[in-house]
Symmetry: C2
Subunit: 207 residues, 2 copies
DNA sequence: CTTCGCAGACTTACACTGTAAGTACTTACA
DNA sequence: TGTAAGTACTTACAGTGTAAGTCTGCGAAG
């Protein structure tokens, strides 16, 4: 009866998987423990509390973004960083939600390295610290905005049926002509294209 | 002993106030009822469930955005709509969070009018429906991104003390030179300027 | 080989959440 | 005055995070 022991990594792995599939609200300590064949309180041997758990998986997502070679020109670096960050959070939108609701904070040197690299590229572009800070915030806002709008009910109501029913019934061509015209394409747009579009505008704006 | 009766409007008013001050997690039916001098279950006479409550206050925020005169040129209309939407959600970031986490959906003709007006301005700019949809999503993403990044711990860690302590200890000039340089200004930037900056880029990109 | 310490899993318990179901009271109209 | 409707209240249940305490099995020291 070899009882193979839990590790923090195993806990975080399972937590990220569970959050991705069941959403942030669906990630409970008891369910997570059950997934690992363990009782809820055992998790607290490897994780301080739920906040620490969320911090851990958030840091993972940050650390999963590949950092470009510092020798590359700043435009190239910025593009790689922005696209990488977007890809990471687009794969785990639930973490983006946790971050913007302040339920998680990536307190990890690995996460800071990403932030430092982004700001570094902006500084190398010749921006003063103030403008670099603004650029960093704007970039992050674009990433989260694109990811979150895509996964929210404001554009893709396909998830829950009651709202989409209400939509079809209410959005008449008479009362909302513009929305009615755009509605069919609104659902099938990929947020990756939104982001690409915005990033291009942003990079042009820097130059 | 005149028992003045509750109304849906009173409930929603108090709910928005409570959510603004105590956050989304701090808005509980019992606390809200207590605020209104009533028992929790009484609220269910005026609100279907908590989701309906959140939908209601979300719709309010949407409806609080003033719609511009349709006779104005589309650039002017778009600017008014974008700034108005941003101002509304910047005043109630908690509602922005509820929307992107899909905990609320503004199922109201008033809310749809705002959406229709935005898309209408984009169509009048000469965009085909596909591009108009993308523009609408991008605009919404910019609004939510700017608001949420500002109120999250990623830039303004002033809220909770433990993270900010960890930050100061970890962000050394040696290991994170760029972040270290920008850190002082990072906290004091107003997200309204971020948004203005992005909106200008966006409007230029349309032309 | 025995024994001790201890890390890690388990158990119990508490205050909190949303809300289903049932009861009582207050008012408006016949 | 009787009745119907609407609103508020009470109780109860399953779920949450987690504080506090208990048990168990393994590795090291005597």
């Amino acid at each position: 009866m070899a009882r193979e022991t839990l590790t923090r990594d195993k806990v975080l792995d399972a937590a990220l998987r569970l959050a991705d599939s069941d959403g942030l609200a669906g990630l409970s300590m008891r369910k997570l423990a059950g997934e690992l064949g363990v009782e809820a309180m055992s998790l607290y041997n490897h994780v301080e509390n739920k906040r620490d758990l969320l911090n851990g998986i958030a840091a993972r997502v940050f650390e999963s973004v590949p950092l470009p070679d510092r020798a590359l020109p700043w435009q190239e670096r910025l593009r790689v960083l922005a696209n990488g960050t977007f890809a990471a959070f687009n794969e785990h939108p639930v973490i983006a939600r946790a971050l913007v609701s302040d339920e998680a904070n990536p307190l990890t040197v690995g996460a800071l390295r990403l932030i430092d690299a982004i700001i570094g590229a902006l500084l190398d572009a010749g921006l003063d610290p103030y403008r670099a800070a603004r650029g960093y915030r704007s970039l992050l806002g674009m990433v989260f905005g694109a990811v979150l709008v895509d996964s929210s009910g404001l554009t893709a109501e396909a998830a829950q049926t009651p709202p989409v029913e209400w939509f079809r019934r209410t959005v008449s061509a008479r009362e909302f002509p513009n929305l009615h015209q755009v509605l069919p394409v609104l659902a099938e747009i990929d947020c990756a294209q939104d982001f690409e579009f915005q990033l291009e505008l942003f990079l042009n704006g820097l130059a």
